[in-house]
């Protein structure tokens, strides 16, 4: 009994971590190209609302998921135009994107507040695997969008470290001038990966509105986009570590309620809810120090616009 409560809490951690994981992997891909996109929160919100609108009108959550990725991908394309082609300041433009996405999603979602979706993503047990004690209920009785991350994360890792386009991507993020000299199209690489990153942020938002809640509410990401940005640093720009970090963040989230419901341990819930943010700061400090010492991690050209004439 006591045991199953903790298994359930861990399962809840996976679910709470999944939207952050989508967004963080997307942001890792974009930052690996040397583009810092702080518009994650805004893109998640737009993904959440457009995905919800599409799913509510067509009764097809998969279509909603795709629409969410297209909408946030379009936002990322605008961002790429501003920062890659026009070389605007990435931090300022990213903040503008978040503000814009927050307002736009609230405006578009007005008629959808309190609407129930006809069909949502439901948990599907993986035959065989879901019967494994402890691990089965935690990892293999989730909805399809969680399973996608199980494939997405190793795929992103393999792409980054074991393929030629991945190598080109990292070269562009590290030293765009050198990559350009080798014949890599820096602008195309940056555009492509910023857009992919945006699409994954939208996927994270859609996970909230189509599977996790499932409903639409103004500003429903509640800062998860910023947690994702922090998670990128926590993961030192590595998708596999992002997986770990996302479940850790999600774990604290679910612990808040499990402690109250299942135990007599009385830790003020305000304190518990504060923990993920304290953790973020600690990780931020540690990870930054480590990267300075080891010269790994942060892409060398991160947040620096590339200008061929200034080489």
């Amino acid at each position: 009994m006591e045991n199953s409560v903790w298994v359930a809490a861990l399962a809840a951690a996976i679910i709470a971590g999944t939207p952050i994981l989508y967004a963080a992997v997307g942001e890792i891909i974009a930052e690996r190209a040397g583009v810092l996109n702080l518009g994650v929160e805004g893109m998640m919100l737009v993904g959440a609302v457009t995905g919800f609108m599409a799913a509510a009108n067509t009764a097809n959550p998969w279509l909603g998921f795709v629409v969410a990725m297209l909408a946030s991908g379009a936002m990322a394309a605008v961002f790429a135009f501003l920062t890659v082609t026009l070389r605007s300041n990435q931090v300022v433009t990213g903040l503008a994107l978040t503000l814009f996405g927050t307002g736009l999603s609230g405006f578009m979602g007005k008629p959808y507040v309190g609407v129930a979706l006809p069909v949502t993503f439901k948990p599907v047990a993986v035959p065989g695997l879901s019967e494994i004690p402890v691990l089965g209920p935690i990892f293999f009785r989730n909805d399809p969008l969680v399973y996608i991350t199980y494939i997405l994360v190793p795929l992103a890792w393999y792409y980054l470290y074991h393929t030629r386009p991945g190598l080109n991507l990292r070269a562009v993020g590290e030293n765009p001038g050198a990559a350009d000299a080798l014949g890599v199209n820096v602008f195309a690489v940056r555009y492509l990966h910023v857009i992919i990153g945006g699409m994954l942020a939208g996927a994270g938002g859609a996970y909230l509105s189509l599977a996790y809640a499932p409903s639409w509410l103004e500003n429903m990401t509640a800062g998860r986009g910023w947690i994702a940005v922090a998670l990128v640093i926590f993961a030192v720009w590595n998708p596999l570590r992002a997986l770990l970090g996302a479940y850790l963040f999600g774990g604290v989230d679910s612990l808040v309620y499990t402690l109250q419901a299942a135990t007599s341990i009385s830790i003020p819930s305000f304190f518990l809810k504060m923990l993920p943010y304290i953790l973020t700061i600690i990780v931020l400090v540690l990870a930054t120090r480590q990267t300075v010492v080891k010269h790994i991690g942060a892409p060398g050209a991160l947040s620096i616009p590339y200008d061929r004439e200034e080489r």
Binding site: L82, S88, T102, G103, L104, A116, S215, E218, M220
Partner: protein, 370 residues
């Protein structure tokens, strides 16, 4: 060569920012502006949430629509999503300036702003929901939600098999504690073995958090979930797990058709009609209104089909006793969590004690954060 793109970029960012302002600005869908008839009385409503929240604000808006339907000489308007802060003062002032004769402010946090604005507009009647401050032209109104909560507790106590009920609670304030106590007393009146586990979310309105809190209660063995929250998140959690739930604010069966058993609900309409009529007739007084089931301001939503007739009869009978005044929810003997008698046999909690309650009754598992 380099200047042009930068100017273009600043332009685009400005457009983005303006788009944001436009998105936030469109927040006051004041109704019926097409035909302004001078002889109609203008009544304004200030809402803390969106009218589509399927909960608290939705219930108030049903009351507003009822008012407009019942009194043809009234024209209403509302402003939604008004935060409980300085914005409220601006919105209240705006409504008063526009010539609204009665203004209903429907959230606790508006209290001080209502009193402040009321001073400046002595000819306007202000009504504040759930507060306790009054002025010569400002009254308060609320309802005895504990009565239908007690009844919903009886339903939960009868329907549970695990004898563990879960309660997703918003903030540790007397209004919520009162509801938990009433629910627990009701459940234990029909099933003395019942325990009520409480989880605090520290939010009125967050579907994801509310749902997660409900799931953690279900994981801890609860098989009926009650809520003092404004979204159907906890109902959806129970539906997913094939368990039962008790809604709040309004009938929530559309979100959880087989899980949602019933709900303690608000019915503001008749009170709004009564108040506006009193203002028109000049009989209005700045009172602290506390309506009951007898007045119809609170009630129990229709039962789900799965609730057996025997339970319905039992609840119906108790409802009649409450309406007739032969039964009072907080009548003795009532013990607290430590088993100490707080209200002796034959005694009653006074209205002030009920409004300020800060302790749990016996059978509640959980702490009240101080």
């Amino acid at each position: 060569m380099k200047k042009a793109p930068r100017i273009l970029m600043i332009g685009v960012i400005l457009v983005l920012a303006l788009g944001l302002l436009a998105g936030c600005g469109g927040q006051s869908p004041a109704s019926d502006s097409e035909q302004k008839q001078e002889d109609k009385m203008k009544v304004g409503f200030v809402y803390v949430g969106p009218v589509g929240d399927a909960g608290w604000t939705w219930a108030h808006d049903q009351g507003r629509q009822y008012l407009e339907k019942q009194l043809p000489w009234v024209v209403t308007s509302y402003i939604e999503n008004v935060p409980e802060g300085p914005d409220a003062e601006r919105v209240l002032t705006q409504l008063a300036e526009e010539g609204h004769k009665v203004i209903f402010a429907t959230s606790f946090g508006y209290m001080d702003y209502v009193i402040k604005v009321a001073e400046k507009y002595p000819d306007v009647v202000f009504m504040h929901c759930s507060g306790y401050k009054t002025a010569p032209n400002a009254g308060t109104y609320f309802g005895a939600m504990e009565e239908p909560r007690y009844l919903s507790g009886m339903v939960a106590g009868k329907m549970t098999k695990s004898n563990i009920l879960g309660y997703v609670a918003a903030h540790p304030i007397p209004e919520v504690i009162r509801g938990i106590n009433a629910f627990t007393l009701g459940a234990r009146s029909v099933n003395p073995d019942v325990k009520v586990k409480v989880v605090w979310t520290n939010t009125w309105y967050d579907p994801a958090a509310e749902k997660q809190a409900a799931l953690s209660l279900l994981d801890a063995g609860a098989d009926v979930i009650a809520q003092h929250q404004d979204t159907p998140g906890p109902q959806q959690a129970a539906q997913e797990r094939g368990k039962y739930a008790i809604g709040y604010n309004c009938d929530m069966r559309q979100f959880a058709p087989s899980a949602s058993l019933t709900a303690p609900i608000w019915n503001w309409g008749p009170y709004y009609v009564q108040t506006v009529e009193a203002v028109k007739n000049g009989t209005w007084q700045p009172e602290q209104y506390y309506g009951t089931m007898k007045d119809g301001i609170v009630d129990l939503a229709p039962f789900n089909d799965v609730v057996p007739q025997e339970v319905r009869d039992l609840v119906e009978q108790k409802k009649q006793e409450i309406i007739e005044g032969t039964f009072y929810v907080f009548q003795g003997p009532i013990k607290d969590q430590k088993g100490q008698i707080r209200v002796p046999e034959g005694g009653k909690m006074s209205h002030e004690e009920v409004l300020g309650v800060d302790w749990f009754v016996e059978g509640v598992e959980g702490d009240i954060p101080k």
